[in-house]
Protein backbone atom coordinates (compact mmCIF):
# COMPACT_ATOMS: atom_id res chain seq x y z
CA UNK A 1 0.00 0.00 0.00
CA UNK A 2 2.81 2.39 0.90
CA UNK A 3 4.48 1.48 -2.39
CA UNK A 4 1.30 2.34 -4.27
CA UNK A 5 1.17 5.73 -2.57
CA UNK A 6 4.75 6.54 -3.42
CA UNK A 7 4.24 5.65 -7.08
CA UNK A 8 1.01 7.65 -7.32
CA UNK A 9 2.58 10.76 -5.80
CA UNK A 10 4.13 12.38 -8.96
CA UNK A 11 0.87 11.86 -10.85
CA UNK A 12 -1.08 13.47 -8.05
CA UNK A 13 1.27 16.47 -7.98
CA UNK A 14 1.00 17.02 -11.71
CA UNK A 15 -2.82 16.83 -11.61
CA UNK A 16 -3.07 19.30 -8.70
CA UNK A 17 -0.50 21.57 -10.38
CA UNK A 18 -2.45 21.61 -13.63
CA UNK A 19 -5.70 22.48 -11.85
CA UNK A 20 -4.00 25.30 -9.92
CA UNK A 21 -2.44 26.84 -13.05
CA UNK A 22 -5.75 26.50 -14.89
CA UNK A 23 -7.59 28.16 -12.01
CA UNK A 24 -5.01 30.99 -11.84
CA UNK A 25 -5.18 31.73 -15.60
CA UNK A 26 -8.99 31.56 -15.61
CA UNK A 27 -9.09 34.46 -13.09
CA UNK A 28 -8.05 36.82 -15.89
CA UNK A 29 -10.85 35.84 -18.29
CA UNK A 30 -14.61 35.68 -18.51
CA UNK A 31 -16.07 32.21 -17.71
CA UNK A 32 -17.46 32.00 -21.26
CA UNK A 33 -13.95 32.47 -22.65
CA UNK A 34 -12.00 30.30 -20.18
CA UNK A 35 -13.98 28.74 -17.32
CA UNK A 36 -12.31 27.68 -14.08
CA UNK A 37 -12.21 23.93 -13.30
CA UNK A 38 -15.21 24.16 -10.96
CA UNK A 39 -17.21 26.19 -13.45
CA UNK A 40 -16.51 23.57 -16.10
CA UNK A 41 -17.77 20.81 -13.81
CA UNK A 42 -20.92 22.87 -13.20
CA UNK A 43 -21.45 23.28 -16.98
CA UNK A 44 -21.07 19.54 -17.54
CA UNK A 45 -23.52 18.81 -14.73
CA UNK A 46 -26.14 21.19 -16.10
CA UNK A 47 -25.59 19.86 -19.62
CA UNK A 48 -26.35 16.32 -18.54
CA UNK A 49 -29.33 17.22 -16.39
CA UNK A 50 -31.27 17.25 -19.67
CA UNK A 51 -32.06 14.00 -21.49
CA UNK A 52 -31.21 15.48 -24.90
CA UNK A 53 -27.47 15.52 -24.05
CA UNK A 54 -27.46 11.73 -23.64
CA UNK A 55 -29.24 11.29 -26.96
CA UNK A 56 -26.67 13.50 -28.69
CA UNK A 57 -23.81 11.52 -27.13
CA UNK A 58 -25.48 8.24 -28.09
CA UNK A 59 -25.90 9.41 -31.69
CA UNK A 60 -22.20 10.21 -32.07
CA UNK A 61 -21.22 7.00 -30.33
CA UNK A 62 -23.42 5.04 -32.72
CA UNK A 63 -21.66 6.58 -35.75
CA UNK A 64 -18.24 5.88 -34.25
CA UNK A 65 -19.26 2.28 -33.57
CA UNK A 66 -20.79 1.55 -36.97
CA UNK A 67 -17.97 3.28 -38.86
CA UNK A 68 -15.27 1.52 -36.89
CA UNK A 69 -16.99 -1.85 -37.22
CA UNK A 70 -17.26 -1.55 -41.00
CA UNK A 71 -13.68 -0.26 -41.33
CA UNK A 72 -12.37 -3.15 -39.19
CA UNK A 73 -14.36 -5.82 -41.06
CA UNK A 74 -13.39 -4.69 -44.55
CA UNK A 75 -9.89 -3.60 -43.52
CA UNK A 76 -9.08 -6.95 -41.91
CA UNK A 77 -10.49 -8.92 -44.83
CA UNK A 78 -8.60 -6.78 -47.37
CA UNK A 79 -5.33 -6.87 -45.40
CA UNK A 80 -5.51 -10.63 -44.94
CA UNK A 81 -6.20 -11.35 -48.61
CA UNK A 82 -3.43 -8.92 -49.61
CA UNK A 83 -1.02 -10.81 -47.36
CA UNK A 84 -2.05 -14.29 -48.44
CA UNK A 85 -2.21 -13.60 -52.18
CA UNK A 86 0.79 -11.73 -53.46
CA UNK A 87 -0.99 -10.61 -56.63
CA UNK A 88 -3.89 -9.12 -54.65
CA UNK A 89 -1.33 -7.31 -52.48
CA UNK A 90 0.31 -5.66 -55.48
CA UNK A 91 -3.10 -4.86 -56.97
CA UNK A 92 -4.44 -2.97 -53.93
CA UNK A 93 -1.11 -1.50 -52.78
CA UNK A 94 -1.66 1.68 -54.82
CA UNK A 95 -5.32 2.03 -53.79
CA UNK A 96 -4.44 1.82 -50.12
CA UNK A 97 -1.69 4.43 -50.56
CA UNK A 98 -4.14 6.79 -52.31
CA UNK A 99 -6.64 6.40 -49.47
CA UNK A 100 -3.92 6.88 -46.84
CA UNK A 101 -2.57 10.09 -48.34
CA UNK A 102 -5.83 11.78 -49.42
CA UNK A 103 -6.60 14.62 -46.96
CA UNK A 104 -9.08 13.55 -44.27
CA UNK A 105 -10.86 16.90 -44.24
CA UNK A 106 -11.51 16.59 -47.98
CA UNK A 107 -13.33 13.28 -47.36
CA UNK A 108 -15.46 14.97 -44.72
CA UNK A 109 -16.54 17.73 -47.14
CA UNK A 110 -17.03 15.34 -50.05
CA UNK A 111 -19.17 13.06 -47.91
CA UNK A 112 -21.49 15.98 -47.08
CA UNK A 113 -21.80 16.92 -50.76
CA UNK A 114 -22.49 13.32 -51.77
CA UNK A 115 -24.73 12.18 -48.91
CA UNK A 116 -26.12 15.40 -47.44
CA UNK A 117 -26.92 15.81 -43.77
CA UNK A 118 -27.39 12.21 -42.69
CA UNK A 119 -25.83 9.35 -40.74
CA UNK A 120 -24.13 8.16 -43.89
CA UNK A 121 -21.75 11.12 -44.28
CA UNK A 122 -19.85 10.71 -40.96
CA UNK A 123 -19.85 6.89 -41.22
CA UNK A 124 -18.60 7.03 -44.81
CA UNK A 125 -15.82 9.42 -43.75
CA UNK A 126 -14.76 7.18 -40.84
CA UNK A 127 -14.68 4.08 -43.02
CA UNK A 128 -12.65 5.72 -45.79
CA UNK A 129 -10.04 7.10 -43.38
CA UNK A 130 -9.75 4.18 -40.94
CA UNK A 131 -9.96 1.31 -43.43
CA UNK A 132 -6.56 1.86 -45.12
CA UNK A 133 -4.80 2.02 -41.73
CA UNK A 134 -6.39 -1.27 -40.72
CA UNK A 135 -5.65 -2.91 -44.07
CA UNK A 136 -2.00 -1.76 -43.96
CA UNK A 137 -1.54 -3.11 -40.43
CA UNK A 138 -3.19 -6.47 -41.08
CA UNK A 139 -1.24 -6.79 -44.33
CA UNK A 140 1.99 -6.49 -42.35
CA UNK A 141 0.70 -9.13 -39.95
CA UNK A 142 -0.33 -11.45 -42.75
CA UNK A 143 3.15 -11.22 -44.27
CA UNK A 144 4.61 -12.36 -40.92
CA UNK A 145 2.37 -15.47 -40.60
CA UNK A 146 4.28 -18.60 -39.54
CA UNK A 147 4.37 -20.92 -42.56
CA UNK A 148 5.39 -23.86 -40.35
CA UNK A 149 2.06 -23.67 -38.51
CA UNK A 150 0.13 -23.50 -41.77
CA UNK A 151 2.05 -26.57 -42.96
CA UNK A 152 1.21 -28.35 -39.70
CA UNK A 153 -2.48 -27.61 -40.25
CA UNK A 154 -2.29 -28.77 -43.87
CA UNK A 155 -0.50 -31.98 -42.88
CA UNK A 156 -3.30 -32.81 -40.42
CA UNK A 157 -5.85 -32.12 -43.16
CA UNK A 158 -7.38 -28.93 -41.74
CA UNK A 159 -9.93 -27.38 -44.08
CA UNK A 160 -9.71 -23.71 -44.94
CA UNK A 161 -12.19 -22.42 -42.34
CA UNK A 162 -10.47 -24.29 -39.50
CA UNK A 163 -7.06 -22.97 -40.58
CA UNK A 164 -8.43 -19.46 -40.68
CA UNK A 165 -10.13 -19.68 -37.29
CA UNK A 166 -7.51 -21.47 -35.24
CA UNK A 167 -4.20 -20.92 -37.03
CA UNK A 168 -4.24 -17.67 -39.03
CA UNK A 169 -6.52 -15.25 -37.16
CA UNK A 170 -4.99 -15.92 -33.70
CA UNK A 171 -1.59 -14.97 -35.14
CA UNK A 172 -3.13 -11.73 -36.42
CA UNK A 173 -4.73 -10.80 -33.09
CA UNK A 174 -1.89 -8.44 -31.99
CA UNK A 175 -2.24 -6.61 -35.30
CA UNK A 176 -6.03 -6.60 -35.07
CA UNK A 177 -5.90 -5.03 -31.61
CA UNK A 178 -3.31 -2.47 -32.66
CA UNK A 179 -5.59 -1.54 -35.58
CA UNK A 180 -8.61 -1.39 -33.32
CA UNK A 181 -6.90 1.06 -30.96
CA UNK A 182 -5.59 3.32 -33.74
CA UNK A 183 -8.94 3.00 -35.51
CA UNK A 184 -10.90 3.88 -32.39
CA UNK A 185 -8.78 6.97 -31.67
CA UNK A 186 -9.08 8.08 -35.29
CA UNK A 187 -12.78 7.29 -35.63
CA UNK A 188 -14.06 9.48 -32.85
CA UNK A 189 -11.95 12.43 -33.92
CA UNK A 190 -13.18 12.07 -37.49
CA UNK A 191 -16.75 11.66 -36.28
CA UNK A 192 -16.66 15.05 -34.53
CA UNK A 193 -15.12 16.88 -37.49
CA UNK A 194 -17.53 15.28 -39.89
CA UNK A 195 -20.54 16.01 -37.69
CA UNK A 196 -19.50 19.65 -37.38
CA UNK A 197 -20.12 20.09 -41.10
CA UNK A 198 -22.42 17.31 -42.10
CA UNK A 199 -24.91 16.29 -39.42
CA UNK A 200 -28.07 17.68 -37.93
CA UNK A 201 -27.31 16.16 -34.55
CA UNK A 202 -24.23 14.94 -32.66
CA UNK A 203 -21.40 16.12 -30.46
CA UNK A 204 -19.58 17.66 -33.44
CA UNK A 205 -22.73 19.66 -34.29
CA UNK A 206 -22.89 20.93 -30.69
CA UNK A 207 -19.23 21.99 -30.81
CA UNK A 208 -19.93 23.91 -34.05
CA UNK A 209 -23.02 25.55 -32.54
CA UNK A 210 -21.19 26.76 -29.41
CA UNK A 211 -18.22 27.83 -31.53
CA UNK A 212 -20.51 30.08 -33.56
CA UNK A 213 -21.92 31.47 -30.29
CA UNK A 214 -18.31 31.98 -29.03
CA UNK A 215 -19.03 29.98 -25.87
CA UNK A 216 -15.70 28.34 -24.97
CA UNK A 217 -17.13 27.00 -21.70
CA UNK A 218 -19.79 24.94 -23.50
CA UNK A 219 -17.30 23.71 -26.10
CA UNK A 220 -15.02 22.54 -23.30
CA UNK A 221 -17.94 20.95 -21.47
CA UNK A 222 -18.84 18.88 -24.56
CA UNK A 223 -15.22 18.10 -25.33
CA UNK A 224 -14.46 16.94 -21.79
CA UNK A 225 -17.61 14.80 -21.54
CA UNK A 226 -16.87 13.10 -24.81
CA UNK A 227 -13.24 12.57 -23.82
CA UNK A 228 -14.32 10.86 -20.58
CA UNK A 229 -16.68 8.57 -22.46
CA UNK A 230 -13.92 7.56 -24.89
CA UNK A 231 -11.46 6.98 -22.03
CA UNK A 232 -14.05 4.85 -20.25
CA UNK A 233 -14.54 2.72 -23.38
CA UNK A 234 -10.78 2.25 -23.68
CA UNK A 235 -10.20 1.37 -20.02
CA UNK A 236 -13.38 -0.61 -19.34
CA UNK A 237 -13.83 -2.44 -22.66
CA UNK A 238 -10.81 -2.42 -24.98
CA UNK A 239 -8.07 -3.11 -22.40
CA UNK A 240 -9.83 -5.91 -20.47
CA UNK A 241 -10.84 -7.48 -23.79
CA UNK A 242 -7.24 -7.41 -25.03
CA UNK A 243 -6.01 -8.87 -21.75
CA UNK A 244 -8.54 -11.68 -22.00
CA UNK A 245 -7.65 -12.48 -25.62
CA UNK A 246 -3.94 -12.73 -24.78
CA UNK A 247 -4.36 -14.68 -21.55
CA UNK A 248 -2.53 -17.62 -23.18
CA UNK A 249 0.73 -15.73 -22.94
CA UNK A 250 2.67 -16.74 -19.83
CA UNK A 251 2.28 -14.16 -17.09
CA UNK A 252 5.31 -11.96 -16.54
CA UNK A 253 7.11 -12.43 -13.23
CA UNK A 254 4.89 -10.97 -10.54
Amino acid sequence: MSLFRREALPGLFSAVGLLLVWKAVSLFFLPTFLPSPLELVARIASLFSAASAYLILAKTLERVFVGLLLAMLFGCALGLIMGLRHSVGSFFDGWVMVLLTFPSIAWAFLAVLWFGLSDIAPIFTIVLIVLPYVAMNIWEGAKALDKELTDMGTAFGARRSLLLRQVLIPQLMPYIFASLRIGFALAWKIALVSEAFGASRGVGKELMYWFQSTRVDMMLAWGASFMMLMLAIDVLILRPWEKWVFSWRPALAT
Binding site: D151, G153, A158, Q166, W248
Partner: protein, 258 residues
Protein backbone atom coordinates in the same frame (compact mmCIF):
# COMPACT_ATOMS: atom_id res chain seq x y z
CA UNK B 1 3.50 -58.94 -42.52
CA UNK B 2 2.49 -58.90 -46.14
CA UNK B 3 0.28 -55.82 -45.93
CA UNK B 4 2.04 -52.61 -46.84
CA UNK B 5 0.81 -49.47 -45.10
CA UNK B 6 2.90 -47.20 -47.29
CA UNK B 7 4.20 -47.76 -50.79
CA UNK B 8 6.47 -45.20 -52.41
CA UNK B 9 7.45 -45.77 -56.01
CA UNK B 10 9.96 -43.86 -58.10
CA UNK B 11 9.50 -40.64 -56.20
CA UNK B 12 11.50 -37.62 -57.37
CA UNK B 13 11.73 -34.00 -56.40
CA UNK B 14 13.53 -31.21 -58.22
CA UNK B 15 14.36 -27.84 -56.66
CA UNK B 16 15.54 -24.71 -58.43
CA UNK B 17 19.08 -23.68 -57.45
CA UNK B 18 19.34 -20.66 -55.12
CA UNK B 19 20.30 -18.46 -58.09
CA UNK B 20 17.00 -19.46 -59.72
CA UNK B 21 18.72 -20.34 -63.00
CA UNK B 22 19.44 -24.04 -62.72
CA UNK B 23 17.77 -27.03 -61.13
CA UNK B 24 19.01 -29.84 -58.98
CA UNK B 25 17.49 -33.15 -58.07
CA UNK B 26 16.89 -33.57 -54.37
CA UNK B 27 15.24 -36.95 -54.51
CA UNK B 28 15.71 -39.28 -57.44
CA UNK B 29 13.53 -42.27 -58.09
CA UNK B 30 13.11 -43.28 -54.47
CA UNK B 31 11.14 -46.41 -53.65
CA UNK B 32 10.17 -47.67 -50.22
CA UNK B 33 7.64 -49.98 -48.60
CA UNK B 34 6.61 -49.92 -44.98
CA UNK B 35 4.65 -52.79 -43.47
CA UNK B 36 1.63 -52.05 -41.33
CA UNK B 37 2.47 -51.61 -37.65
CA UNK B 38 6.21 -51.49 -38.23
CA UNK B 39 8.73 -48.84 -37.30
CA UNK B 40 10.95 -47.72 -40.19
CA UNK B 41 13.71 -45.15 -39.97
CA UNK B 42 15.45 -43.20 -42.66
CA UNK B 43 18.96 -42.13 -41.71
CA UNK B 44 20.92 -39.59 -43.66
CA UNK B 45 23.11 -36.56 -43.22
CA UNK B 46 21.55 -33.12 -42.82
CA UNK B 47 20.23 -31.61 -46.02
CA UNK B 48 19.79 -34.90 -47.84
CA UNK B 49 16.08 -34.34 -48.44
CA UNK B 50 14.64 -36.36 -45.57
CA UNK B 51 12.25 -33.60 -44.49
CA UNK B 52 11.27 -33.00 -48.10
CA UNK B 53 10.37 -36.67 -48.40
CA UNK B 54 8.12 -36.51 -45.33
CA UNK B 55 6.53 -33.27 -46.57
CA UNK B 56 5.69 -34.92 -49.88
CA UNK B 57 4.13 -37.90 -48.08
CA UNK B 58 2.15 -35.49 -45.87
CA UNK B 59 0.92 -33.57 -48.91
CA UNK B 60 2.55 -30.30 -47.89
CA UNK B 61 4.82 -30.30 -50.94
CA UNK B 62 4.11 -31.66 -54.42
CA UNK B 63 6.41 -34.26 -55.94
CA UNK B 64 7.90 -34.12 -59.43
CA UNK B 65 7.15 -37.69 -60.33
CA UNK B 66 6.45 -41.04 -58.80
CA UNK B 67 3.71 -42.25 -56.53
CA UNK B 68 2.94 -42.31 -52.82
CA UNK B 69 0.21 -44.64 -51.70
CA UNK B 70 -0.98 -44.85 -48.13
CA UNK B 71 -3.50 -47.55 -47.35
CA UNK B 72 -6.37 -46.53 -45.14
CA UNK B 73 -7.21 -49.01 -42.42
CA UNK B 74 -10.88 -48.29 -42.50
CA UNK B 75 -12.50 -48.84 -45.85
CA UNK B 76 -15.37 -46.40 -45.40
CA UNK B 77 -12.97 -43.53 -45.00
CA UNK B 78 -10.92 -43.61 -48.17
CA UNK B 79 -8.53 -40.77 -47.25
CA UNK B 80 -5.61 -42.05 -45.20
CA UNK B 81 -4.93 -40.41 -41.86
CA UNK B 82 -1.46 -38.93 -41.58
CA UNK B 83 0.05 -37.90 -38.24
CA UNK B 84 3.11 -35.68 -38.25
CA UNK B 85 5.57 -34.86 -35.46
CA UNK B 86 7.94 -32.09 -36.53
CA UNK B 87 11.38 -31.08 -35.26
CA UNK B 88 9.82 -28.25 -33.27
CA UNK B 89 6.48 -28.89 -31.55
CA UNK B 90 4.50 -26.52 -33.84
CA UNK B 91 1.72 -26.20 -31.29
CA UNK B 92 -0.92 -23.48 -31.47
CA UNK B 93 0.19 -21.47 -28.45
CA UNK B 94 -3.18 -19.71 -28.07
CA UNK B 95 -5.00 -23.01 -27.56
CA UNK B 96 -4.78 -25.17 -24.45
CA UNK B 97 -3.08 -28.57 -24.60
CA UNK B 98 -6.50 -30.19 -24.93
CA UNK B 99 -7.63 -27.80 -27.68
CA UNK B 100 -4.41 -28.43 -29.60
CA UNK B 101 -5.23 -32.12 -29.76
CA UNK B 102 -8.85 -31.37 -30.63
CA UNK B 103 -7.61 -29.20 -33.51
CA UNK B 104 -6.15 -32.32 -35.13
CA UNK B 105 -9.28 -34.36 -34.34
CA UNK B 106 -11.43 -31.62 -35.88
CA UNK B 107 -9.18 -31.41 -38.95
CA UNK B 108 -9.51 -35.19 -39.40
CA UNK B 109 -13.31 -35.00 -39.02
CA UNK B 110 -13.30 -37.46 -36.13
CA UNK B 111 -16.66 -37.84 -34.34
CA UNK B 112 -17.02 -35.15 -31.69
CA UNK B 113 -18.31 -37.68 -29.17
CA UNK B 114 -14.93 -39.42 -29.21
CA UNK B 115 -12.84 -36.30 -28.60
CA UNK B 116 -12.72 -36.25 -24.82
CA UNK B 117 -11.87 -39.92 -24.50
CA UNK B 118 -9.09 -39.62 -27.06
CA UNK B 119 -7.61 -36.51 -25.45
CA UNK B 120 -7.52 -38.23 -22.07
CA UNK B 121 -6.19 -41.50 -23.44
CA UNK B 122 -3.30 -40.06 -25.47
CA UNK B 123 -2.30 -37.41 -22.96
CA UNK B 124 -2.06 -40.15 -20.35
CA UNK B 125 0.00 -42.20 -22.77
CA UNK B 126 2.62 -39.47 -23.23
CA UNK B 127 2.62 -38.83 -19.47
CA UNK B 128 0.81 -35.49 -19.53
CA UNK B 129 -2.46 -36.44 -17.84
CA UNK B 130 -3.74 -33.43 -15.90
CA UNK B 131 -2.19 -30.83 -18.24
CA UNK B 132 -5.33 -30.54 -20.40
CA UNK B 133 -6.07 -26.92 -19.55
CA UNK B 134 -2.51 -25.66 -19.52
CA UNK B 135 -1.16 -23.46 -22.33
CA UNK B 136 1.86 -24.72 -24.33
CA UNK B 137 4.13 -21.81 -23.41
CA UNK B 138 3.86 -22.85 -19.75
CA UNK B 139 5.37 -26.25 -20.62
CA UNK B 140 9.03 -27.20 -21.13
CA UNK B 141 10.31 -28.02 -24.62
CA UNK B 142 10.18 -31.73 -23.89
CA UNK B 143 6.61 -31.53 -22.63
CA UNK B 144 5.58 -29.50 -25.68
CA UNK B 145 7.01 -32.21 -27.91
CA UNK B 146 5.03 -34.80 -25.92
CA UNK B 147 1.86 -32.81 -26.67
CA UNK B 148 2.85 -32.86 -30.35
CA UNK B 149 3.24 -36.65 -30.16
CA UNK B 150 -0.12 -37.02 -28.42
CA UNK B 151 -1.70 -34.82 -31.10
CA UNK B 152 -0.31 -37.03 -33.87
CA UNK B 153 -1.28 -40.28 -32.13
CA UNK B 154 -4.77 -39.08 -31.22
CA UNK B 155 -5.97 -39.14 -34.81
CA UNK B 156 -4.92 -42.82 -34.84
CA UNK B 157 -2.97 -42.34 -38.06
CA UNK B 158 -2.42 -44.88 -40.81
CA UNK B 159 1.12 -43.54 -40.92
CA UNK B 160 2.92 -41.50 -38.29
CA UNK B 161 5.66 -39.29 -39.73
CA UNK B 162 8.38 -38.17 -37.31
CA UNK B 163 10.98 -35.66 -38.46
CA UNK B 164 13.93 -35.68 -36.03
CA UNK B 165 11.46 -35.12 -33.20
CA UNK B 166 14.06 -35.21 -30.43
CA UNK B 167 16.85 -33.23 -32.11
CA UNK B 168 15.84 -29.93 -30.49
CA UNK B 169 15.88 -31.39 -26.97
CA UNK B 170 18.81 -31.74 -24.62
CA UNK B 171 20.34 -35.23 -24.67
CA UNK B 172 19.00 -36.33 -21.28
CA UNK B 173 15.44 -35.34 -22.17
CA UNK B 174 15.81 -36.86 -25.63
CA UNK B 175 16.99 -40.16 -24.18
CA UNK B 176 14.03 -40.34 -21.82
CA UNK B 177 11.66 -39.47 -24.66
CA UNK B 178 13.06 -42.30 -26.81
CA UNK B 179 12.53 -44.84 -24.04
CA UNK B 180 9.03 -43.47 -23.44
CA UNK B 181 8.28 -43.62 -27.16
CA UNK B 182 9.16 -47.35 -27.10
CA UNK B 183 6.71 -47.85 -24.25
CA UNK B 184 4.00 -45.86 -26.02
CA UNK B 185 4.42 -47.98 -29.15
CA UNK B 186 3.66 -51.13 -27.16
CA UNK B 187 0.20 -49.67 -26.55
CA UNK B 188 -0.60 -47.75 -29.73
CA UNK B 189 1.13 -49.83 -32.47
CA UNK B 190 1.04 -47.20 -35.22
CA UNK B 191 3.01 -47.49 -38.47
CA UNK B 192 5.93 -45.09 -38.19
CA UNK B 193 8.29 -43.49 -40.64
CA UNK B 194 10.99 -41.86 -38.55
CA UNK B 195 13.65 -39.59 -39.98
CA UNK B 196 16.90 -38.87 -38.19
CA UNK B 197 20.58 -38.14 -38.72
CA UNK B 198 21.51 -40.29 -35.72
CA UNK B 199 22.30 -43.92 -36.46
CA UNK B 200 22.15 -44.78 -32.79
CA UNK B 201 18.64 -43.38 -32.48
CA UNK B 202 17.50 -45.21 -35.61
CA UNK B 203 18.97 -48.54 -34.53
CA UNK B 204 17.54 -48.25 -31.02
CA UNK B 205 14.00 -47.40 -32.14
CA UNK B 206 13.35 -49.16 -35.43
CA UNK B 207 12.68 -52.52 -36.97
CA UNK B 208 13.83 -51.34 -40.39
CA UNK B 209 16.63 -48.86 -40.99
CA UNK B 210 17.05 -47.29 -44.43
CA UNK B 211 20.21 -45.34 -45.15
CA UNK B 212 20.01 -42.41 -47.50
CA UNK B 213 22.73 -40.70 -49.53
CA UNK B 214 22.91 -37.02 -50.44
CA UNK B 215 22.21 -35.22 -53.71
CA UNK B 216 20.27 -36.89 -55.01
CA UNK B 217 18.70 -38.77 -52.13
CA UNK B 218 18.47 -42.49 -52.71
CA UNK B 219 18.35 -45.45 -50.39
CA UNK B 220 21.52 -47.51 -50.54
CA UNK B 221 21.07 -49.84 -47.61
CA UNK B 222 18.24 -51.58 -45.78
CA UNK B 223 18.86 -53.18 -42.40
CA UNK B 224 16.49 -55.25 -40.23
CA UNK B 225 16.97 -54.81 -36.51
CA UNK B 226 15.71 -58.06 -35.05
CA UNK B 227 16.44 -57.31 -31.41
CA UNK B 228 13.17 -57.75 -29.49
CA UNK B 229 11.56 -54.89 -27.59
CA UNK B 230 11.72 -53.42 -25.05
CA UNK B 231 15.34 -52.63 -25.84
CA UNK B 232 17.95 -51.22 -23.54
CA UNK B 233 19.71 -48.08 -24.84
CA UNK B 234 23.02 -49.64 -23.67
CA UNK B 235 22.47 -53.02 -25.38
CA UNK B 236 25.87 -54.04 -26.89
CA UNK B 237 24.12 -55.61 -29.89
CA UNK B 238 22.82 -52.16 -30.81
CA UNK B 239 26.33 -50.73 -30.59
CA UNK B 240 27.66 -53.42 -32.90
CA UNK B 241 24.97 -52.72 -35.48
CA UNK B 242 25.66 -49.03 -35.27
CA UNK B 243 29.39 -49.55 -35.73
CA UNK B 244 28.87 -51.61 -38.87
CA UNK B 245 26.49 -49.06 -40.31
CA UNK B 246 28.84 -46.15 -39.66
CA UNK B 247 31.58 -47.98 -41.54
CA UNK B 248 29.29 -48.60 -44.48
CA UNK B 249 28.03 -45.06 -44.43
CA UNK B 250 31.48 -43.55 -44.75
CA UNK B 251 32.38 -45.93 -47.53
CA UNK B 252 29.40 -44.69 -49.54
CA UNK B 253 29.96 -41.04 -48.63
CA UNK B 254 33.55 -41.21 -49.86
CA UNK B 255 32.40 -42.82 -53.09
CA UNK B 256 29.98 -39.91 -53.54
CA UNK B 257 32.75 -37.38 -53.02
CA UNK B 258 34.85 -39.02 -55.71
Amino acid sequence: MALQAVTIEGLSKIFPTPSGLGKFTVIESLSLEIARGSFASIVGPSGCGKSTLLNIIAGIEPSDGGRVQILSRDAANSAARIGYVFQSPRLLNWLTVEENIKFALDAQKIERSEWNARVRNYLDMVGLGGQECNFPLNLSGGMQQRVAIARALAIEPDILLMDEPFSHLDEITARRMRVDLMRILERARPTILFVTHSLREAVFLSEDVYMMSVKPARIFKHLRVDIPRPREPEDPRLFDLEKDLVKEFFAVLEQDVR
